[in-house]
């Protein structure tokens, strides 16, 4: 047995800068690949999870993507309104557990106020409020987990997303107040920032009929057809998968479109996947180039140090010893860089996820996947194999020739 580590460590110590740059280059190359893969997966899983609460969406004919973005991700855009008749139909159609109107317009301190029905707030009784209860009458609100309002707080909605007519706004602010009566558990999506109120209140604020006989204080279905205003979207919870397809067919008419958000997202992933493949390819190419450059630099370094290895052989080191020194010097750098890169990649992903989540409206579930581990491992593996090249080359040179170099 021999111990090549003292020479390895001495060589590293002598070339600290080169060692540092090499490690950093390999680590960054690996980190980019890991971050791209991990981030894309997190985005895919996170966005799919956000759509879980929306099995079937019904909206006015138009852009499916817009409808999904507006309702699932609360990226409020002006979308055409759906006639009240469709809501009345949906509420009573067979196979529907609930059909919830989703009506926007107001906000409180930047937290969107969404008018809907209690069944949607509880996702058909699947969610129990963590505090308080669901809204039970006009003027009550239940807030998402991420809304910084305590139970009992009274809020004055500000009308609209932007400052419009000052006088009108003023009027609306005083028209209505909500009292927070409950808080929903976290869903890790943008709906955690929403304030849910009876849709009737939202309609009333906009001076629309409230879906019931004038003067009625009722909230939620059944609706009175001739009192129903238009709504931007209806979230339909079907009773079964079969019912979901039947309902989608039923509401694909000239007056309405019906879609599965998951399907729309799948199309987006198709595009996203292509981009991901391209980015993966770029990351992989970057890695290959970095490793190649690093190995070339190391090879040149070893050739320049041929004399050191000749001296070692001259004073009694075996070929295996010299091979071990050179192989270890390269391998430790490549493997160390790969491990550092994994950590750096996950760290970057983690930091990015927090930042991205605040702009895309859903949490990115970060996980360690097989793909990026494979990436780092195969890079390290290739490095260990390629490291034999300078090691073998150094042994082919006669000792006496190396001493003269």
């Amino acid at each position: 047995m021999f111990n090549p580590f003292s020479v390895v460590v001495a060589d590293y110590r002598r070339n600290r800068l080169l060692v540092g740059i090499t490690l950093a280059l390999i680590a960054i190359a690996v980190a980019i690949g890991v971050a791209v893969i991990a981030q894309e997966r997190a985005l895919r899983q996170g966005s799919a999870r956000a759509a879980d609460d929306f099995d079937l969406l019904v909206g006015a004919p138009g852009s499916p993507t817009q409808l999904v973005l507006t309702s699932v991700y609360l990226k409020l855009q002006s979308i055409p309104l759906l006639g009240g008749k469709v809501l009345a139909q949906a509420a009573t159609a067979t196979g529907v557990r609930y059909a919830a109107p989703i009506a926007f317009g107001d906000n409180h301190g930047g937290y969107p106020i969404v008018g809907t029905i209690a069944d949607f707030a509880s996702r058909g009784s699947a969610l129990q409020p963590t505090e308080g209860r669901l809204f039970a009458k006009r003027g009550e609100a239940v807030v998402g987990a991420g809304v910084p309002l305590s139970i009992g707080a009274v809020i004055h909605p500000e009308h609209g997303q932007h400052h419009a007519d000052e006088a009108e706004e003023h009027e609306h602010e005083h028209a209505l107040t909500y009292t927070v009566v409950g808080r929903l558990p976290a869903r890790y999506n943008v709906w955690d920032k929403a304030i849910l109120v009876p849709v009737e209140d939202v309609w009333a604020v906009h001076e629309l009929p409230t879906g019931h006989e004038a003067g009625s204080a009722q909230i939620g279905p059944p609706w009175t057809l001739d009192q129903l205003p238009g709504v931007p979207a209806i979230a339909v919870k079907p009773e079964s998968v079969g019912a979901a397809y039947a309902l989608r067919g039923k509401f694909r008419t000239s007056d309405s479109m019906a879609l599965f958000p998951a399907e729309v997202l799948n199309e987006l992933y198709g595009t996203l996947g292509d981009v991901r493949d391209l980015m993966s390819l770029l990351a992989l190419a970057t890695q290959a180039l970095v490793v190649l450059a690093v190995l070339l630099a190391l090879l040149v370094g070893f050739l320049a140090r041929a004399r050191q290895f000749a001296v070692l052989r001259a004073i009694g080191a075996s070929p295996g010893y010299v091979f071990g020194v050179i192989w270890l010097e390269v391998s430790v750098l490549v493997a160390g860089g790969a491990v550092l890169g994994l950590l750096l990649g996950y760290g970057t992903s983690w930091a990015l996820s927090g930042w991205i989540a605040t702009r895309i409206g859903f949490a990115l579930p970060l996980s360690m996947g097989f793909e990026e581990l494979l990436l780092a491992a195969s890079l390290a593996g290739i490095g260990l194999i390629i490291a034999t090249l300078p090691a073998v080359l150094s042994l082919r040179r006669p000792i006496a020739e190396g001493l003269k170099a």
């Binding site: 001296v311 009694g316 000792i399």
Partner: protein, 229 residues
């Protein structure tokens, strides 16, 4: 037969592609414990001859025996082992490993065959460092003066108490004061160990202190009569 008795017979060396031998040594016998100098003009082949005697450069024909070891015929692994255990090499440019301390440089040959040097070897390294007057053995090699580096190199050559010490211009890179120090140390140490020393050098002050001198000229090794004063 003891291990430091050199016998060379019919030794020829020719570089590949050259029409004639660089040197041809018909017979050479050097008894144990002698100190021998080889001088000669640049390009005469002194260093190559030394490398042949060290088993670093394969000979074209003939035989080199150090005691019972015919190093010109040893298999590669045995030759490597012989160099580690039986040979001490001192170079003109010291060839210490920078980044290692003086002590670790002396102990380096031990790491060729052991994970950790035996305690007796480590004690020997410390004794050698004291003997060559290195005050701070923990100091990195690159921080030592040239004279100190060559002293560490001499200590490294003697770690395994070799029967043979070969030195290639050991004083050529040093100032006059350090030349004297290294010459004296080298001679004293090989005499203390009863080793055979062969020095290739231009340094007449060093050569004059040796038992025998040869000159390599026109491919032949000739004894030089030295007038010891």
């Amino acid at each position: 037969m003891d291990n430091s008795h050199l016998r060379v017979s019919d030794l020829r060396f020719r570089f590949a592609g050259q029409p004639s031998d660089l040197f041809h040594i018909a017979q050479l016998a050097i008894p144990r414990g002698r100190t021998v100098g080889i001088r000669g003009a640049s390009g005469a082949g002194k260093t190559t001859l030394l490398h042949c005697l060290a088993g670093i450069e394969p000979v074209s024909s003939g035989s080199i025996r150090w005691g019972n070891d015919e190093i010109s015929a040893l298999p590669p692994a045995a030759l490597t082992r012989w160099r580690q255990q039986r040979l001490g090499l001192v170079f003109q440019d010291f060839h210490l490993i920078e980044g290692l301390s003086a002590r670790d440089n002396v102990l380096l040959p031990a790491s060729f065959t052991a994970w950790k040097a035996a305690s007796i070897v480590r004690e020997r390294a410390d004794a050698l460092l004291r003997r060559v007057d290195i005050g701070s053995p923990g100091r990195a090699a690159e921080l030592l003066s040239r004279g100190e580096r060559q002293r560490v190199a001499v200590a490294r050559a003697l770690l395994f108490e070799p029967a043979v010490v070969l030195a290639d211009e050991p004083t050529a890179s040093l100032d006059p004061e350090n030349r004297d120090t290294i010459s004296r140390l080298l001679l004293d140490l090989v005499r203390e160990h009863d080793a055979t020393l062969i020095v290739v050098s231009h340094d007449t002050a060093l050569l004059d202190q040796l038992d025998m001198q040869f000159e390599l000229r026109d491919g032949a090794l000739q004894m030089v009569e030295v007038a010891h004063v």
